[in-house]
């Protein structure tokens, strides 16, 4: 379980990533920027799972890449145990990366088809020889296969000989090889069939308990995120719009976007068709290259007023709930934040 009284293991402060839009071939000049991630802050505590949800294009995968330093942040800080890692390079970066590993979405393209499973899982040891087991590397790889529920005899097989769920287990074993503290999971189960999804989710929870891992769990499936997360952040168009405990977000959402998102999820319960409030949003997500002024959700929001176009709402506990000692008092970036129940359930 998360221990929020301890020091955060990862702290993200005002993280920004703008991808430049350029024109011209010889004389390239910047004509604008895609604001993929625009001033995001959150913390991750040891042993905790922080879920990040949002629709495609909201910037959640860019956040993952920024934390891994696969993309350079435009500005902002990523503090790992108090040290800013967003500007590290070379040997210092390599040392940090040992402790932050990633599990990717697509188990088909994220494993090299020409490498055996043993080579794939053992590769981290070649890159970080100081972390490699003394002596028999193979034995450690077999152990890892066993940990993720695969037959250790499969060590010499190739990825195409495995099903999607098994491949995702291989990806997880590779992520575990260096005994990291943080694993960033970008849509780890969205490519899997329903019955296999549950197997992988259960495995991830077991591994978390066993090794005390912290997960940053990025997904678009709100039900899975609720299941696995201690806290959840909701992103829209490069901004974090609401963040809080899973009960706060799912049972007491105060941001209109979160409410609409939850109400749109079809429940696997035909009796819930009635009695549940459905909010059907109009229109599409605006372009992140040219986001609306003020609140970014205002173009699709039923509560929007003039103030929303002029003033960007800050991510903080809404005034009306300040001091309240319940789950409803959590950070929400809306001028008119108000609790709405019966969106996630009847």
């Amino acid at each position: 379980m998360a221990d929020t009284t301890r020091e955060p293991i990862l702290e993200v402060r005002n993280l920004v990533k703008h991808f430049p839009l350029t024109q011209g071939i010889v004389f390239r000049r910047q004509v604008g920027a895609v604001r993929a991630v625009d001033d995001i802050s959150f913390t991750l505590y040891p042993g905790e799972t922080l879920g990040i949800v949002g629709e495609s294009g909201c910037g959640k995968s860019t956040v993952a890449k920024l934390l891994m330093n696969l993309e350079r942040a435009t500005s902002g800080e990523v503090l790992y145990k108090g040290e800013d890692i967003s500007k590290l390079s070379g040997r210092a970066l390599k040392a940090v990366r040992r402790n932050i590993q990633m599990v990717f979405q697509d188990p088909y393209t994220s494993l090299n088809p020409r490498m055996t499973v043993g080579d794939i899982i053992g590769e981290p040891f070649d890159i970080h020889p100081e972390a490699a087991p003394k002596g028999d590397k193979q034995a450690r790889v077999r152990e890892l296969l066993d940990v993720v529920g695969l037959n250790p005899e499969y060590i010499n097989r190739y990825p195409h000989q495995f099903s999607g769920g098994q491949r995702q287990r291989i990806g997880i074993a590779r992520g575990l090889a260096l005994n990291p503290e943080i694993i960033i999971c970008d849509e780890p189960v969205s490519a899997l069939d329903v019955s296999v999804q549950a197997q992988v989710i259960n495995l991830m929870e077991k591994l978390q308990d066993e090794f005390g891992l912290s997960y940053l769990f990025i997904a678009h499936d709100l039900s899975i995120v609720r299941h696995i997360s201690d806290r959840v952040g909701v992103m829209y168009l490069g901004k974090m719009v609401e963040i809080g405990s899973d009960a706060a977000i799912y049972d007491h959402p105060t941001h209109p976007y979160t409410q609409a998102l939850l109400s749109a999820v079809p429940l696997p319960d035909p009796d819930a068709r009635e009695g549940r409030e459905r909010i059907i949003l109009t229109g599409d997500v605006p372009s992140p290259a040219n986001p609306p002024s003020g609140c970014r959700f205002r173009t699709r929001c039923w509560k929007a007023e003039e103030r929303c176009a002029e003033e960007m709402p800050l991510l903080a506990v809404p005034q009306r709930y300040a001091g309240a000692d319940t789950a409803v008092a959590h950070d929400s970036a809306c001028h008119f934040a108000e609790e709405k129940q019966h969106v996630a359930h009847a």
């Binding site: 629709e55 495609s56 099903s163 769920g165 098994q166 069939d193 329903v194 019955s195 296999v196 999804q197 549950a198 197997q199 989710i201 259960n202 929870e205 678009h220 709100l222 039900s223 899975i224 609720r226 299941h227 696995i228 899973d246 009960a247 799912y250 609409a260 998102l261 939850l262 109400s263 749109a264 999820v265 079809p266 429940l267 696997p268 319960d269 035909p270 009796d271 819930a272 068709r273 459905r278 059907i280 949003l281 109009t282 599409d284 996630a344 359930h345 009847a346």
Partner: protein
């Protein structure tokens, strides 16, 4: 409806009352692969009435899409081969028709909506041209007429500023808008039956809700039969009247949507329902169906689900269970409800 230009009067070929709109009987399809013969569909039967929504639920490889392709007449043959069964549409067997006869039905009477709108639309033709094509080819409309009908259709599926966007190309539309164009195309000739194969899987939740609402509304308006093929238990619960659950090329359970969700009578259905996390409650451990679906080239002799089933006994391995009518607690048969499990009673009641 004249203001939308969509003519609702059907030509008088409707089947005699009593026969369902579509009746698939004991359909069998196999594929010739390098690994041997893959039995993709092994005796599937289902029927759809006008105005009704049947959800075909199954995971990848269960045969749900292949069945739909056979109904539509777009199955790749070879490697596919229909080895048995009938597909009766308004009382006539589609499998006995000539290709010319089937062409008259395809699009006109039975239309299909695909999962991936971007790859189903031609990228080098404007959406107006592609929508209008339906009227030019099937109804002999002029170019001008066809374009006007295309605009009406786009209005119908609520694409904003349809007049200005009719000459745009597919890539200029968002995913949700493209799926609306696919729906418009399917509706163009007012078919009696629509087959929607994972129509919202590629869309974000808020857009998915918009598209599903639109589809359900239009279906009611035109009294079409709808076959919804999906793996998403949430979408099914939201819109379906009846469900057929498929596993390894067979229907393992069928019945009214509420009854199946409340009291599943097949261990596979029960396992699926237990293995999805819920939005409205935080559960502890998820139930996970163990193992993997069987390979279609070597199906187990008895029940295909037996290697993964907690209830499996010896009889499950040796003897294939046939669908039996499910009885309720008082012993009365539940209409339209069946389960292909030796132990359906035990599954249903405990």
């Amino acid at each position: 409806m004249t203001e939308t230009g969509i003519d609702l009067v059907k030509d008088g070929t409707a089947a005699t009352p009593g026969t369902p709109l579509l009746d698939v009987r004991d359909l069998q399809i196999e594929f010739h692969t390098r690994e041997g013969i893959a039995k993709a569909v092994n005796g599937v039967s289902y029927s759809v009435e006008a105005g009704e929504t049947l959800a075909v639920l199954g995971e990848s490889g269960s045969g749900k899409s292949v069945t739909a392709q056979a109904i539509m007449g777009i199955l790749d043959m070879p490697p596919g081969r229909i080895t048995g069964g009938e597909i009766l549409f308004q009382g006539q067997d589609l499998l006995k028709m000539t290709e010319a006869q089937r062409r008259k039905i395809r699009g006109n009477k039975i239309a299909m909506i695909f999962q991936d709108a971007l790859s189903s639309l031609n990228p080098v033709l404007s959406v107006g041209y592609q929508l209008g094509e339906m009227f030019r080819v099937h109804k002999g409309a002029s170019r001008k007429e066809a374009k006007a009908r295309a605009v009406e259709l786009m209005d119908r599926v609520r694409i904003p500023a349809a007049k200005d966007r009719v000459n745009d190309y597919p890539h200029q539309f968002s995913g949700g808008m493209r799926q609306r164009i696919m729906i418009a195309m399917a509706l163009a000739l007012e078919p009696d039956l629509i087959i929607a194969d994972e129509p919202t899987t590629a869309l974000d939740v808020t857009v998915q809700a918009q598209v599903m609402d639109l589809l359900a509304e239009l279906q009611q308006e035109y009294r079409m039969g709808l076959i919804l093929i999906t793996h998403d238990l949430g979408v099914v619960a939201d819109v379906a009247d009846r469900i057929a659950v498929m596993y390894a090329g067979r229907i393992v359970e069928r019945g009214d949507v509420r009854e199946i969700y409340r009291t599943p009578a097949h261990p596979y259905t029960k396992g699926l329902l237990d293995s999805i996390p819920r939005l409205d409650q935080k559960g502890s451990d998820l139930y996970a169906i163990r193992g993997l679906p069987p390979t279609l080239t070597s199906l187990p002799a008895g029940c295909s689900f037996s290697p993964r089933c907690d209830r499996a006994r010896e009889v499950c391995v040796t003897e294939r269970p046939l669908p039996v009518t499910v009885l309720d607690a008082e012993g009365v048969p539940v209409p339209g409800r069946s389960s292909a499990c030796h132990f359906w009673k035990e599954t249903l009641h405990g």
